[in-house]
């Protein structure tokens, strides 16, 4: 693991709690919320997180390769999930305790169900609106109906957290290297 210098580029409107484990070169966009006890390790290369993402407790975002790991806007990383994909689009949901391997590239509007393991042997790009569910990680394509309501719900979720989290947790003030 290369010993990179810690360089955090946290937007002033992002809400990052003090108890978060950050390591490496990390950029966090506006409106993103990182709960306490989350882990973001930019071990091999930098991680860039977009706007409005919600990263919950116990989530692990790990980049072991040199290339930049880009995460889009309005994604939800639920409790205990472990994500290593090199690129993630917008409005995805990684449900509780899901694990996504490094070989998968995820576009927008996908849902990885609770407890699902997405570990294909070869590089794979999922289709948009893919839903992975069940203990055997079955795949199907969502019709996309209801995405406007879900996007609205995600924004309301983020707004609520932005208001409530600072009242009960200490925030990490953005610091350079």
């Amino acid at each position: 693991m290369s010993k990179g210098r810690d360089k955090f580029n946290i937007h002033s409107k992002a809400v990052v709690c003090q108890d978060v484990d950050l390591k490496g070169d990390i950029t966090i966009g506006a409106g993103t919320i990182v709960h306490p006890k989350a882990t973001i390790f930019a071990a091999g290369g930098p991680i860039v997180i977009g706007q409005g993402c919600i990263i919950e407790e116990g989530a692990i975002i790990l980049n072991r390769h040199r290339e930049v790991m880009r995460i889009g806007d309005d994604n939800l990383f639920e409790i205990g999930c472990r994500v290593e994909c090199p690129s993630i689009g917008d409005f995805n949901t990684f449900c509780t305790r899901s694990r996504v391997h490094n070989t998968v590239r995820i576009p927008s509007y996908c849902v990885i169900g609770a407890g699902c393991l997405v570990v294909p042997l070869e590089d794979e790009i999922l289709d948009e609106y893919t839903v992975i569910y069940g203990p055997a990680a079955e795949k199907r394509v969502w019709s996309g109906r209801g995405r406007v309501q879900e996007a609205d719900l995600r924004r309301k979720h983020a707004d609520y957290l932005k208001e409530m989290l600072p009242k009960f947790n200490r925030l990490r003030r953005g610091d350079g290297a």
Partner: protein, 556 residues
Amino acid sequence: MPPSIEFYCPCLASTPHPPPPHLASSSYSFHPLHNLFFCEECDAIRCNRCVMVEVSGYYCPNCLFEVPSASVRAEKNRCARNCFMCPNCRNTLTVVPSDPPDTGAAIVNTVGEPPFFLYCNHCRWDSAEVGITFEKPTGLAAQLQKYEDSAPESLEFERLKEHYEPHLRASPSTGPAAPHSHHTHTNPITAAASSALARDIPGVGKYTPHSSSVGRNRSSRNKGNYNEVPDYRARVEIGSSNFTMGGGGETDVDLMKHLEDMSEIATLEQRWENSWMTSLQTGDLKPLRIPLHSKKSKRCPSCRHILIKPEQKAQSVRYKIKLVAANYLPAITVSLPHLYAVLAAMRKPGKTPQLSDIESTMHAGKTYSFQLSFTNPLYDPIQVRLHVQRSLPSSSMAEDGGGPSEKRRPPFSVTLPSSAFPIAAYAEAWEYEDDEEMFGVEEDDFDGGGGGRGGGREQGRGRTKTIGILERRANVTVIGGEVAISKEARGNIKFNMLVSYTYRSDDSEPSEEQSTPSRAQVQNREPEMKTFSFYTAIDLGTIIPREEHKSDAMEY
């Protein structure tokens, strides 16, 4: 596999002796304690195999609505209210409004806009994929009713019922004026069942309850219904090509020939929820009504005493009557103390090994000690005696031995204290004394494996106590035993153990409470001790055979 113990239920067998536990077929007679019931009248263990089960009520698992038994048949065992099941993943569907039109304002109405459809939160299937949408979010059952009624299967079923109903109603009236009340069925389906039972079978004498009117019955019944029923003609010819419904006709073959992707065919789990065969395509799967669940009550098979009776309300999981074996029999757990030393050795940083990770630790030719802890559920103290049954070697052993009669030595021998040991009564936690009592070994008796050295022998205090009462704490007593494994043993260590315990029966009352105790009454009121015994099967685990050690030794 960690060591386990299971209890034997004789299931009304004539002999109380259990089958040998190493046979695979005997595993069905042995149950863990939490699966067993106890009948107080018969003083016997009952299990799920021998108990009589009857339905005590029906309810929908989604809305928890109790459905009266009369409407269960009418609704075809499904929930009549708005409960639907996703055909894809069999989760519950929720009613959801459609997305608002894209005006760019990003303000969503809280009530939601029509059209509404059913949506599965787990796999994101929605009913709009099959074209089912609603105008209102309530009253879905009525809205879907017309879809269901127009399906070809239900039309066929209705037609069948209409065809046979007049004949079934007519059949009791063609017979003599019999006072059999059971013939006058209002429901045509049960009438059909009872007249099918009374059907004329060639070669078997006809059963008529009234012998006086035998002649008239026979002639009128023979002429009666079954010659007059016209042939039923189905609505649609079954063999025609456009009506196969998954039955394997021409349409299905065409479907298979033009198949492009495996996911187009519905899986078996998705299709067998229906009452009849449906089409094979995934695109044809419709939301199903949720099937009802039933609450069952269980009775003893011999005395018909109720053992289990659940509460009437669907959402309560408690029971009105709950005669479970755990309230009468002592709970027994088995442990091997040397496993914990192995666990500690296996411990790696950051990873705690579990007992199930250890495959087996017992080597042939050695002696291991094991511990049994007994927990007394009764409010009176009990005295327990143990008795181990001799186990014969399995047939695989005989093959190794070279001759069937040559090596009939049992593969292992188990030593357990054979004297009775007491277990204290169950009481609330604050009633127990703080200091624990440690009892030493009082008596030792070797059992099995070559010669009985009977009689008691006092153990020296200096020796570590492995056999006998190890610990007595609250209402738990821990007993130690030893198992000596012979050199040629292989397989699992399983043996039957008879546990008998003596307790004061509930009929006794202390004589001080009597106002005028006469001598005879005092005699009757003395507590009588009752004994109950049951068999258990103890599995200590697998033996690591000695072969590998021998081959290692031969290399030198």
